[in-house]
Symmetry: C2
Subunit: 216 residues, 2 copies
DNA sequence: TAGATTGTTAATCGATTAACAATC
DNA sequence: TAGATTGTTAATCGATTAACAATC
């Protein structure tokens, strides 16, 4: 009877959960047990009603006058994001950005662990980047199946992105975090998350130019 | 009479402009002169009507049966984003991520040029990162005013973010691209663009987990 | 109790999409 | 001309916000 319906959580809410998580964990560290939507909203610069809507999507209820219990809330959010057990991923493309992401603290606090890095350049293969070993691309398919990895971070140059992405999919990868500028053409069941740094820059640039022009 | 009203461009549209720009420039390179919303939509996986709405915000009109002239469209989008003349910026925090961003190709195609990098660690000061010199933080205020830079990229550890951001603002910086996890508390006229890698990761993770759970 | 907070239901807001006349 | 495309006006969709009764 479709009891186990996958509840529809709005994407903007999904984007706010990491912010909530950080705050909730910090409060837990400080020995707190409860937090109200009013308090969360104040710190994160949101509206209390929006916070409550987002909390409702986790299935956790609050207590009037008191707020929400930290622990179950943290657990529910991690569950919702699939961060409840470390999500292993591989990274392909050990350039500047790839290296930075491999060593990025802030991932390990959440589910993401880069289990292996792959690259084609002989001088990189066999070296360690921030504690993670670099393997040849040829070893990728076997390692993906051995490690049962389903996520890949793609930081190769644009001209190789499509080809590499295809080989990742063939190896069993289901989700690709694409940092290359290239749009990927992949089977529809593959989840592609694109992070285009130029897009964020455009946003800042447009807001800034508007502010500056306003003044003139 | 408020003739020169700053036209309201939706944020989602702003985010799409970099994608349009890349495509339009590529077509221009190939010797094309025109492109239709239908074609743009096909390549970028959007709806033609959405493309036309976005184009309308640039002020550039198209010709029925033919489409939009590439050159004025490119010019208008760059104008709108403030990318018409290279937007110099400084970068503070020459860690892994800072180094990667300093060398990131894809920025130079757009307005962004990192003019100088600042860091506090003595072994980095005076060195070059991807062709950009690293200066001591103490030299930042003078260089910001000399170079008339208004944008800064902030890639320092979370615990220093607030303090460094304040000194940037005091030096005359108006827009901050904040890569640190720390929320910044700054005067309201300062534009802060936050890029939180955990947020993108959350999005991918949540979509992937939903897909996987759907199958089970 | 009094009063702050939750959670529901409805209203608002803004972006996307649809329909279609105008155009070349 | 015929037909593909633009651009306008209206409808839809989804998220945010408001109002307020229920709760402890």
């Amino acid at each position: 009877m479709g009891e186990h319906q996958v509840q529809k959580v709005p994407l903007p809410s999904i984007r706010r959960y990491p912010l909530y998580l950080r705050l909730l964990k910090a409060h837990l560290e400080e020995g707190e047990k409860w937090i109200s939507s009013t308090e969360i909203a104040r710190v994160l610069n949101l509206k209390p009603i929006q916070v409550r809507k987002d909390m409702a999507c986790t299935g956790i209820g609050g207590k009037p006058r008191i707020g929400f219990a930290l622990e179950p809330l943290i657990f529910a959010i991690e569950q919702l994001l699939g961060w409840d057990n470390a999500t292993d991923a591989i990274l392909v493309g050990a350039g500047n950005l790839g290296s930075a992401l491999t060593g990025y603290h802030g991932f390990d606090q959440y589910g993401l662990k880069i289990a292996a890095v792959f690259d084609n350049s002989p001088e990189k293969i066999g070296t360690m980047i921030n504690g993670v070993r670099v393997f040849a691309m040829g070893e990728m398919p076997e390692m993906v199946s051995t490690l049962s990895v389903r996520m890949a971070v793609l930081t190769v140059p644009a001209e190789h992105a499509q080809e590499v992405a295809l080989s990742l999919v063939n190896a069993g990868i289901l989700g690709i975090w694409n940092f290359s500028v290239q749009a990927l053409n992949l089977p529809s069941h593959i989840i592609v998350q694109r992070t285009d740094l130029a897009v964020s820059f455009a946003e800042l640039s447009a807001r800034l130019i508007k502010e500056i022009r306003k003044k003139t």
